[in-house]
């Protein structure tokens, strides 16, 4: 799926993703009109950009995937816009000069950060093969579980699984680093 085809088949005016996003925009217009997404086209453009890095080869039914991802991205943007306006409100409620020295940008100690981290890892997982997704879930669920057991369950070579794990670890570290997370 080329970016041009993605745009022409789904995101151009009158196409399905465009319609979904427009409907979402007008349903939540009161929130969006106070943000940088004050026109539906801005939201369409943002969601389109978020889908450009998709690994299309792992996807079975592209249309379903796009519709689902569009809706998820819409809700994600909405929650970010809401958070930002909440942060802004809190910031402006403080007296000038008594604002605590704390970044308005989400930091690991921020109460919202768990949701953000979950979303980043989930979206990363989405672009992996089914086996890699299971491996990542194994790391989350049972960090003490045996790789040998997992390899046997999947009828894979342990070394092959270990190589996969190494590749996922590096790729995830890059994604998290790009999003501002520092990994030792």
């Amino acid at each position: 799926m080329t970016p041009k085809k993605l745009f022409e088949d789904f995101f151009s005016e009158g196409r399905s993703a465009f319609k979904i996003i427009s409907l979402f925009f007008y349903t939540n217009k009161n929130v969006f009109e106070k943000s940088e997404f004050d026109q539906p086209d801005d939201l369409v453009h943002h969601v389109y950009n978020s889908l450009l890095n998709t690994s299309w080869e792992n996807i079975r039914i592209i249309e379903n995937y796009i519709h689902r991802s569009v809706k998820i991205q819409c809700w994600t943007v909405l929650s970010r816009v809401k958070k930002r306006s909440l942060l802004h409100e809190r910031f402006s409620e403080e007296e000038y000069g008594s604002v605590p020295i704390k970044s308005a940008v989400a930091s690991p100690s921020d109460e919202y950060d768990g949701n953000e981290l979950f979303s980043i890892i989930h979206d990363f997982k989405k672009n992996q093969t089914e086996l890699d997704q299971e491996l990542l879930n194994l790391l989350i669920d049972d960090p003490e579980d045996s790789l040998i057991y997992f390899a046997a369950q999947k009828k894979q070579n342990v070394n092959a699984i270990r190589t996969r794990l190494h590749r996922i670890r590096k790729a995830l570290a890059v994604v998290l680093h790009e999003r501002g997370y520092f990994l030792k």
Binding site: I121, L139, P143
Partner: protein
């Protein structure tokens, strides 16, 4: 055992905070891609949803948007293949209408009244079926038709309330969107330039019910319209500058 260095998620605990609530993005992922979640994340969100009323409300919003979104996408995909069907219907329609026209030509030529009437009251669209003798059956059918006529048209709904800024300033538009009006009623707008406007009224199936051209800032609609949802377009230089909607005898 998985080596500690091999696990980048060993400290992963996104939902460990005491006052944690999943945001819309997390709940949307939970709703659409449950199968992809790890057991731990699934359990954390599911347990939270069972106890938190505000998050349940957000989750319900996501569910209801999914229904609306599905309606849109189903219609969009059906539009693609049904284009061929529509094209076939048009060809058949043209054939039938040309037959009818040829039968009526003699009458039209002698009547001297064959110019198109813009403010026509011919209500060939949108008719209720003829009343039957059994009142119960007739009422039932009328109710069903009313529901159909009040159903919003997703394609037209996209344009509701939008003003196309590039074409000129249109202000103080009345009736307000979604109001219930009675025939006759007035459509009013304030035009920033001297270009004349046109008003077109459409039913919820995007069929033109009435139109009027060369207007300055107001028009009175006298055409008898059956109960239903109607959309109206304001055109300037053949381009749409505004689209609104109104109801006739809206159901309560």
């Amino acid at each position: 055992m998985i080596m500690e260095n091999d696990n980048p998620l060993k400290h992963y605990d996104p939902f460990g905070g005491s006052d944690w609530h999943p945001d819309e993005g997390v709940l949307a992922r939970f709703f659409y891609e449950k199968k992809m979640l790890s057991n731990r994340d699934f359990k954390a969100i599911d347990d939270h949803l069972k106890t938190c009323g505000s998050c349940q409300a957000v989750f319900e919003n996501i569910k209801s948007f999914e229904k609306e979104g599905n309606n849109l996408t189903n219609k969009a995909s059906s539009i693609t293949w049904s284009r061929y069907l529509i094209a076939a219907c048009i060809v058949i329609g043209i054939g039938i209408s040309s037959l009818l026209i040829s039968r009526n030509t003699r009458h039209q030529i002698t009547s001297n009244d064959n110019l198109p009437n813009v403010d026509s009251d011919s209500s060939s669209y949108h008719k209720f079926p003829e009343q039957k003798k059994e009142p119960v059956a007739a009422n039932k059918m009328a109710n069903q038709n009313q529901i159909v006529f009040f159903e919003p048209n997703p394609a037209l709904e996209d344009f509701i309330g939008q003003t196309m800024r590039s074409i000129g300033d249109i202000r103080d538009i009345r009736p307000q969107n979604g109001t219930n009006v009675k025939i006759p009623f007035q459509i009013f707008w304030r035009n920033s330039d001297t270009n004349s406007c046109a008003v077109v009224i459409l039913n919820n199936r995007n069929e033109i019910m009435w139109s009027k051209h060369d207007l300055d800032s107001t028009v009175t609609v006298t055409k008898p319209l059956l109960p239903g949802l109607y959309y109206w377009k304001l055109l300037k230089k053949s381009s749409m500058v505004f689209m609104g909607k109104f109801y006739i005898n809206a159901l309560k």
